[in-house]
Symmetry: C2
């Protein structure tokens, strides 16, 4: 497929995904293209509409982004993780103009952002209604278009894009709020960069194999392969049936990693490589 | 504390939590009390405003409900899981009146419900705007109060409560969509019912102990204790630091289970009992 020179990000403009992309890459201004959902970003990469795409995969407070994991596990077979970007999330309270907090009538954001800031909301905005939006950026846009005394929880980039004012910054309950984004492409990352690598896989375990997780971990432990993440997710075949996402140190071509993956392939119902890429 | 005769549920009226509660318990009409968030339900139980509360903890498509796990792990020490209820989720498309799908201007729901129905939306409602709400029940209320050709994704109970019509039922992408709810109380469940039990714990592993998960699993495996769930969650101390939620078969007073928990308590930074309760 011909190169398009374009990178898709989870939009609308002003999301944390766009902010992470712009802060970590050198791009022409019109090379970053907004897509409305994680599904759309992944499918745009898969179909070749764009060369690459960036989506959130894990947040230090909220945990994994289910939709991203599910798209990579179940919905596409020609998309790889080629890079990870870990970006700090510093939620801001944003309004059209300066106003005292006790005058704020509604706080708009994605329900996850509300959840990340619930102590601040309880302490300073207890009289305000909580209104939901599909993203933090959409919340800021809604505030910018309303005449009411609404505030949004979102990024400084969104405040700037929609001509709004930051009333308070760093309003999240826990410091060290970070999101891990992954960059996706149709070809694997170059495997010869001079950097530490990580490899991500997803494996399925049959329901009636209760000891299998132990077996998986032993394959890595006795080869001294360090796991950086292990996460169970429903297999979508009913409660109690799981798939496991595993991130490990190393490239899939490294002899020890390759041996571990080959053993897992023999033992398990399925093992899918999501990519080997430089550590972020 | 005196008994109140009340049970809190995650509201507003018409949520799947209320539907699961009413379908599985015998309650006086005014004994079920709506609270606006998972946090509020758990705190109402903790403070003794209600005898018990019901919140979702896991969905077969979306995975765990982060907020519920975090409240139980970090925020309260006097609340136990005393029962689990597994309830089917059959999302309905709901409107004020019968109308053809291609006339629907907006589809309102919690972003998770949108995610669970994305194939149906793409096939039949591709021209409609997706609007976010804080819950499926709030979405149905918004539709009931608007004059526009909006539709909501929600429960049959919500359609009934807000005087609306079900346009389509079972619109979720995958069959077997179930949610597991837990009933919380300030005292442990009776341990002597004639039923199979489950025990839930949460344990923390220090960042620099990469082999610890293997150790945890071995404590259970060599005592033939079957695990029904294992889930890692961020510890909120930065990416890469995890806590583990483990559900196992048996009561915490059973000799094998007690021995395993005692060994874990010696080895790990923390082990917290969330409850032993009859299997749902």
């Amino acid at each position: 497929m011909p190169e398009t020179g374009k990178t898709a990000f989870l939009g609308p403009p002003g999301t944390w995904a766009e902010e992470a992309l712009l802060a970590n890459t050198v791009l022409d201004e019109d090379a970053a293209v907004s897509y409305p959902s994680v599904t759309d970003v992944v499918e745009a990469v898969s179909r070749g509409e764009v060369d690459s795409g960036i989506v959130p995969i894990e947040n230090s407070l909220e945990g994994s982004v289910s939709l991203t994991l599910d798209m990579l596990a179940f919905e596409v077979d020609n998309v790889f993780i080629v890079r990870e970007i870990v970006h700090p999330v510093r939620h801001c309270l944003i309004a059209r103009r300066r106003l005292p907090l006790d005058q704020v009538e509604a706080v708009i954001s994605h329900p996850h952002a509300h959840a990340q800031c619930r102590k601040f909301i309880r302490a300073h905005l207890s009289g305000a209604e909580l209104m939901a939006a599909n993203s933090t950026a959409e919340a800021v846009r809604m505030v910018s278009e309303s005449k009411k005394d609404w505030a949004a929880i979102g990024s400084p980039l969104a405040a700037e894009k929609y001509g709004c004012t930051v009333l308070e910054d760093e309003i999240e309950d826990y410091a060290d709020n970070q999101t891990r984004f992954v960059v996706l492409a149709r070809e694997e990352a170059p495997q010869d960069l001079d950097a530490p690598y990580k490899t991500s896989i997803v494996c399925a375990i049959a329901h009636d194999q209760p000891g299998s997780l132990l077996q998986i971990l032993q394959e890595f432990a006795h080869r001294y392969i360090n796991l950086t993440k292990l996460e169970s997710r429903p297999s979508k075949k009913g409660l109690g049936d799981y798939i496991f996402f595993v991130d490990m140190e190393g490239r899939h071509g490294d002899p020890q990693v390759r041996a571990a993956l080959e053993c897992l392939q023999c033992k398990l119902a399925s093992v899918k490589l999501l990519g080997s890429y430089p550590v972020g």
